[in-house]
């Protein structure tokens, strides 16, 4: 992008202008280069190899740490994963409760002047006792 320069064309500004032109040409050439098949192949292979090496290095370090009887990264990740699974189960349960609550049309916070009757309980007692879901029309 060219910039409008208010300053007079001093030698320094001319130098900058020449540099900008060179940079624009370099940018175009670089974009052409990264769009080539050779670069794409190089990038794909390098990325795959680099990550494979990183994986090996991680495994070696983890084994070293474990030998010292200290929890390694993989152990911590395993624990965090268990927590995540538990959270998943809780969330699914919560969503199920929300869904049932919506179906029963039970307000989360009944108004202060609401009658003492409990609609959820009334609906439940009216339902057949075979575990079928009560579907109250909205």
């Amino acid at each position: 992008m060219s910039e409008k320069t208010a300053a007079p064309a001093s030698p320094l500004n001319q130098l900058f202008a020449v540099y900008e032109q060179a940079e624009a040409k370099a940018a175009a050439l670089a974009e052409q280069a990264v769009g080539s098949n050779v670069f794409a192949e190089l990038l794909a292979t390098t990325a795959t190899n680099a990550m494979a090496l990183a994986g090996l290095a991680n495994a070696v370090v983890d084994r070293g740490v474990r030998l010292t009887r200290v929890a390694a990264r993989a152990d911590v990740t395993g624990l965090a994963r268990q927590l995540a699974r538990t959270e998943d189960k809780l969330e699914r349960l919560l969503q199920e409760v929300h869904e049932l609550s919506d179906r029963l049309a039970v307000p989360d916070f009944p108004p202060d002047d609401a009658p003492p009757a409990r609609p959820a309980r009334a609906a439940r007692s009216a339902a057949p006792r075979n575990g079928a879901t009560v579907r109250t029309p909205r």
């Binding site: 974009e31 769009g35 794909a44």
Partner: protein, 392 residues
């Protein structure tokens, strides 16, 4: 004699100019360095908000507002790479702030910063669980049975998948900003779509792809521009006294904040979108259910493309116009890049008001009759900038 005098005068003037420039040069360099080195102090995502719901690393936020005039809340969904603060970049240049001022109830789903323990989070988990629950919690918190979903980049693709899987769900309006859809011919596909790119191996080594690696790949698409030109341009602006330190630092901070791309999500995304191009083919399945964008028939859909988008090229987004089957379809095409379109200095005047206006027309309470559906617009326009194919 007069020629000689003029020559000498010119030389003296040049010498003075060079001397002035040389004296100023260290100061300008120091000022530029100051901007670059203090970028991490920039404040982004500053609009006050409350946490509505969390699950694992995902958080649903609701922005505080005392002026909610529209019945249908907006749920903002961003990509899995980079952080969603781009929606709320800085005071005075924040899409969230703009929407709040327009009277919308604004929610944001933040995917958070996944760790190694989130390696099992795939595209199906994000679409079928996280986004589904976020929509449900938005409905619960807002009290509205409907929601407008605004997705950007990968977030747009996830939003489109979700809406296609729940065509009779809560989504009333769907806004797709620079959405990758047909990846054939894209530079990304050339890089990661080839057989030699082993997405499994790349994603497995670190139980996900480290953010800086994704950032490097993005920057390599325009290496000189991203690594050199932005900094040289900043130096030029400092020299001219036109540099906007706050704006530069906010954007630079956001660009540098790259969370990990979860292992399963990366593997799914590369395979489904780049290696097999399934979304546009209509052969993508999530948890055994086919994701057919043609199922989007009840929602009003707004597609926004950027003429200079090199990450999700405009040509790759346009097929969505012929895939969705809704009668209320609008397409805005604007100059700008993938991010600059919505977060650039001109976005506030160029695209935000149009999006807000489009949403406002379609955010009336459900009981009142919806405005008559305008004629369907499908044809892609030629090069921007040209008038929008938008509904009256």
């Amino acid at each position: 004699m007069s020629t000689l005098t003029g020559l000498v005068g010119g030389l003296v003037q040049d010498a003075v100019s060079v001397a002035k420039g040389t004296v100023r040069l260290p100061l300008d360099v120091a000022r530029t360095a100051d901007i670059l080195l203090t970028t991490d102090r920039a404040v982004i995502g500053a609009t006050p908000r409350d946490v509505v719901w969390t699950h694992r690393k995902t958080t649903l936020y609701r922005y505080r507002s005392t002026d909610r005039r529209h019945a249908v809340p907006i749920l903002l969904v961003f990509a899995l790479i980079n952080r969603p603060e781009i929606f709320d970049l800085r005071p005075g240049s924040s899409f969230v702030e703009f929407l709040l001022a327009e009277g919308f109830d604004v929610f944001l789903v933040d995917w958070g910063v996944p760790g190694e323990e989130d390696a099992d989070m795939g595209v199906a988990e994000y679409v079928c669980d996280e986004l589904h629950w976020a929509v449900r919690e938005t409905v619960r918190a807002s009290g509205s049975p409907h929601v407008s979903v605004v997705g950007w980049c990968i977030g747009a693709a996830l939003s489109a998948m979700y809406t296609a899987l729940h065509p009779d769900g809560a989504v009333r309006n769907l806004v797709l900003l620079t959405m990758p859809l047909d990846t054939s011919g894209s530079l990304y596909r050339q890089w990661v779509g080839r057989p030699s790119f082993d997405a499994d191996r790349v994603a497995t080594a670190h139980e996900g792809v480290p953010g800086p690696m994704v950032d490097t790949a993005n920057k390599l698409m325009k290496p000189v521009t991203n690594y050199l030109t932005t900094k040289r341009r900043l130096f030029g602006q400092v020299r001219q006294g036109t540099a906007n330190k706050v704006a530069y630092q906010a954007m630079a901070k956001w660009v540098a904040d790259n969370p990990r791309f979860p292992q399963a999500a990366f593997r799914d995304w590369i395979r489904l979108m780049y290696k097999e191009n399934r979304l546009v083919d209509g052969t993508l399945t999530l948890r055994g259910r086919q994701v057919d964008l043609g199922a989007i028939r009840r929602q009003a859909v707004l597609v926004v493309t950027a003429a200079g988008d090199h990450i999700a090229p405009r040509a790759g987004t346009l097929p969505v116009l012929s895939m969705v089957t809704t009668d209320d379809l609008t397409h805005f095409d604007r100059p700008g890049g993938h991010i600059g379109l919505m977060a650039g200095s001109k976005a506030k005047g160029l695209i935000w008001p149009d999006i807000a206006g489009w949403l406002a027309e379609r955010s009336r309470p459900a009981r009142t009759p919806r405005p008559a559906r305008p004629a369907r617009t499908r044809t892609a326009r030629p090069d921007a900038p040209t008038p929008d194919r938008r509904t009256p």
